[in-house]
Subunit: 345 residues, 4 copies
């Protein structure tokens, strides 16, 4: 059994890890930290876990995380980079669900997140935890930078096109929509029910933190300079992410060939579902499941290809992907504990 | 492996059976019928099942359900009573999720559902599939009448009070609220998003079909005449049911003794969670899970006891309960395939 | 033109007052105070008011509210009682949307709200602002205690029964459901979208602040001792309130006579709509409108009468009712500025 | 008073017309037709209209619409073109909220809507009812083709850029999101609450009927060939539309100059609100109001301009715009009856 610790278990990616790990056949939940909720049984905060998770939150200084085999950081950025060095030194593997190790260029990281990086020596070692693109590295990794939810959809949607060299890499547009849980479990006016229900809006259109991460990752797959416009929006639903990706075709290519690019890219990927050309995937088809679905369109048979990508932002976009990485890191079957079916309706 | 057939797999209780049974370790999905969707792959209607359920719907006359070990009827009332006799004769067990065999008094059934009963010889044999109250009978049953969603909450909430004889059985009030999926997957104006979102209303307050079923079942546990006011309401959420039950105390009893009645009644029931006295259970704590939670209140320490009961109407209120019955009927562990944790948030 | 000031304009009852008063033909918005948002244009916080309300919030000490003809307090309880004495002394009328002057018994107030009352000399003078029951007093009032949203529905639903003496006053049950805006515009986890969407729960069932207010008001209409069980619930919708009221009949009375009690009581009330017997009013039929609708039921023709009552909690349950009172206090047509039709769908 | 008839009053644009016209000071509602609901009081279908609209639906053959001054067609496409000729001949003005007269090229219309046009002689005469671009023609018009909801946002968002010649007209992308009421009041599975709540999806991405209408209108403002990718999406909210428009800048232009293009274009338009550069308009800021708000962005100061446009699809996107046209056609103040403020929250 893998002994698992979770730092920052009170947020949505934390409780989602608990939901997945509590029924994972090879995991023993060992410690969940929260400075603020020290001593509170986890199930008192999340009654869905009553009778299933018997741990209480512990203050960070009251628990020895080096007894764990792996520690997940379900924290805001800036926490993992403080604690990861000691854990890694003690032989504990680390999976960070935040941004601390996602960007390889330290200067870009510091400019984007507006804090100094306190563990720059680990940046290079960290593996970007997107199994569909980095599986072998993840298997060997000790430190995982779990991708952001938006970047997961953008990469899995754009990469087959970039690798094939059939689109203008400098003119990519990603119009993305996320459920409100993506904003986290924070006491903020803007994400109150009465503010965000029956409402739709964009945010961060002039510039968003996920752009540099995504551009850097996309750049790995093309020698042309990547240019990306990324517009996130807030959808009045709890979970779910829908990215509508636009790229200009630069070569003659049939719809069948386009489709084949994606089918081939993902034919052995258990958690990516390439739907028939012209389909419209729905976010709910992934609700609660570790699954990303996508479909291609070519409006009026012109020179623009549209890729529709959906996932559950808390599962394939966060905690499910992190468990998928953990499975790979520990030599387990990649989908262990991740086989539940989406909740529909 | 148990070979399972589903009649009427296109509705919400049907797809919920598929979600649960597709990952059930002892089940082999064998046939799913739909007159209207003959030939359509199930996953084309429900993309959440892509890659997980490879069956197609079959017209009823194209499939031999007697090859199954058990057949679920996820149909409107009136269907199971037509087909159950032949199946039972062929040695196939039957679980009806509709109302055909819930009411023991044929005249009451016919008055309530306004159709003649075509298999009256089976009414007596049918076992009411509420495991917490009828487990032994279910184990031996060949024909299960799966309870209605509302009646499940009313029974599990009122019965400990009635058995203890501490409340006025003639003056029970159940103010119940259901998510919209309880109305089924029917093309009706009243349950359109634009009609039922951001809205709340009661329906059927002057008289509802679930009242006779509930009264008859409650009557088993008291010699006083049961009187029940049942008011259903429609909540703008997909899944979830919340019943607020009111009873007048007729005996001196402390809050601790009240609580003990429920704790004792359900201490060995894996799918009933008695929360601390004074708690407010939330429907989402059961979303997607086969779990019913309840909590007691005594407003201003007066002579009224209030029982708050929540469940997912499609799981413990329908398909999950049906699988729980199946497990019992086939000698399996009662919770097999039912251990996933509620989706929260 | 009536010069109007609003203290505490940043909350939902505040912005709702602005929505109504900005188009009121006899009102000149003069001052809106907010300690925290001093200097911020109101329309920057509420873009719905862009081009319609040109005022900015002022810190309380920067504005002279005695220049107003009337001041509304859209504040938490405890504020109006501090400021009302000076305003009244200066000849300014005061309408408090909070609880400071709703309860005539000072001891009950202080026990319920857990603060000392700092203007006890005004309690007696204050008029409870429910026009359907107190119109003449309101016309002559200088200080209005605007009723709570729940109490408005309970009173207008129960009073005709109590006045007629046909129900057991000691055994009233009010199962009430409110949209989330009723919880106000506060940065609290529990009312986040991701916490309260697709979810339903009760709260305060063991005891709620609105009970003493309601009991005291109901008691005015019967010589029997009023006993009330009040259970509030949170509905995943922004606006709307639905109260399901239960009373036991103590006299022989036909359904027609019951209906006549209500039709007679409200036949001259422009903002109460008695629907046909057996109707199921929907909250959305009052969305944004100053209207309360109700309908009677008698389940299975027994001895329980059920009254279904709906309103928009922010309009007839708060700000609309306050404007209705203002109209009466200033000798205007009662419905001036309140004639917009509910937003449906 | 203007005598108004409405053909097809049972749908959402119909009831929205009723909501607006019932309080319009210069309108007398005269006739509302519905073949199916003949004789039903309008307020029985829409209880929000109880006490406010006393008309009943009439079968089309039971009412003489030529007694009206103006007739609105709130019908599916294909109805207005059958009935408009006789009405116009009788001197009655006609406002069609459907598509019959929106496309000037008959062949394109017939290809797009897959029906023959039965009144081609009126196509040329019909005026496209977008007051901000065609005010003078509307004033003189007898037959109005009210724009589609999506096209309204796309035109008001793109036209200032096209007129100024600063963007690549051949490479416009409109990623649009609509509330579910845009799909109408039809008994269809796909728009049930349980299907479209807590869900997000695109539809019609490969080609949508609103594209030809929009392209033809946009083409009026540029000599370059317009190329438009239009991707509509369904948002789980009742009302509201958000269009995210992307265009490539082809000239050096500062953000201030971009902003000035829009400020100048709409400075005298009462129902278009140009927000500060970099704002994120919310759909709810227009809920129930005849208002379109927009804001400009320039991500990372690159060569793409993003225009965010919001409106209520049923008001500025349909019925409110139709009333705005009516006001102009009858020489009334343009905003008469359209001055209510958006419902927020």
């Amino acid at each position: 059994m893998i002994k698992v610790g979770i730092v920052g278990g009170t947020g949505y990616t934390g409780v989602e890890l608990l939901r997945l790990l509590a029924v994972h056949p090879q995991v023993q939940l060992t410690a969940i930290t929260s400075r603020k909720e020290d001593g509170l049984p986890v199930a008192d905060m999340y009654p869905s876990l009553r009778g299933r998770v018997n741990l209480a939150f512990s203050a960070p200084d009251k628990v020895d995380l080096t007894q764990c085999d792996v520690v997940f950081f379900a924290t805001p950025h800036g926490v993992a980079m403080e604690q990861a060095p000691a854990l890694l030194k003690a032989g504990v593997k680390v999976i960070d669900l935040a941004a601390d190790f996602r960007i390889k260029d330290q200067a870009v990281f510091e400019k984007t997140y507006k804090i100094p990086h306190t563990a720059p020596q680990l940046i290079e070692e960290a593996v970007y935890g997107l199994p569909e693109l980095n599986r072998d590295d993840i298997k060997a990794a000790k430190l995982i930078a779990n991708p952001g939810c938006y970047p997961t959809t953008m990469q899995l949607g754009f990469v087959p096109l970039l690798k094939a060299g059939v689109v203008d890499a400098g003119n990519l547009i990603a119009d993305c929509k996320s459920g409100v849980s993506g904003a986290g479990r924070k006491a903020e006016i803007g994400i109150l029910f009465s503010e965000s229900s029956d409402n739709f809006k964009a945010y961060g259109v002039s510039g968003h933190r996920h752009t540099p991460e995504t551009v850097a990752q996309l750049q790995r797959f093309t020698s042309d300079k990547v240019g990306l416009i990324f517009s996130p929006h807030l959808v009045p639903m709890i979970r779910g992410m829908h990215s509508t990706l636009y790229a200009r075709l630069t070569k003659e290519i049939s719809n069948e060939e386009l489709q084949a690019l994606f089918v081939d890219a993902y034919k052995d990927q258990p958690f990516v579902d390439v739907m028939p050309f012209g389909s419209h995937p729905e976010t709910r088809s992934t609700r609660g499941a570790n699954m990303l679905r996508l479909a291609l369109h070519r409006p009026d048979n012109g020179d623009t290809v549209v890729v529709l990508v959906v996932q559950d932002n808390l599962v394939k976009g966060a905690s499910g992907q992190a468990v998928q990485c953990m499975n790979l890191m520990f030599g387990l079957e990649e989908g262990l504990g991740l086989n539940n079916i989406a909740l529909l309706p």
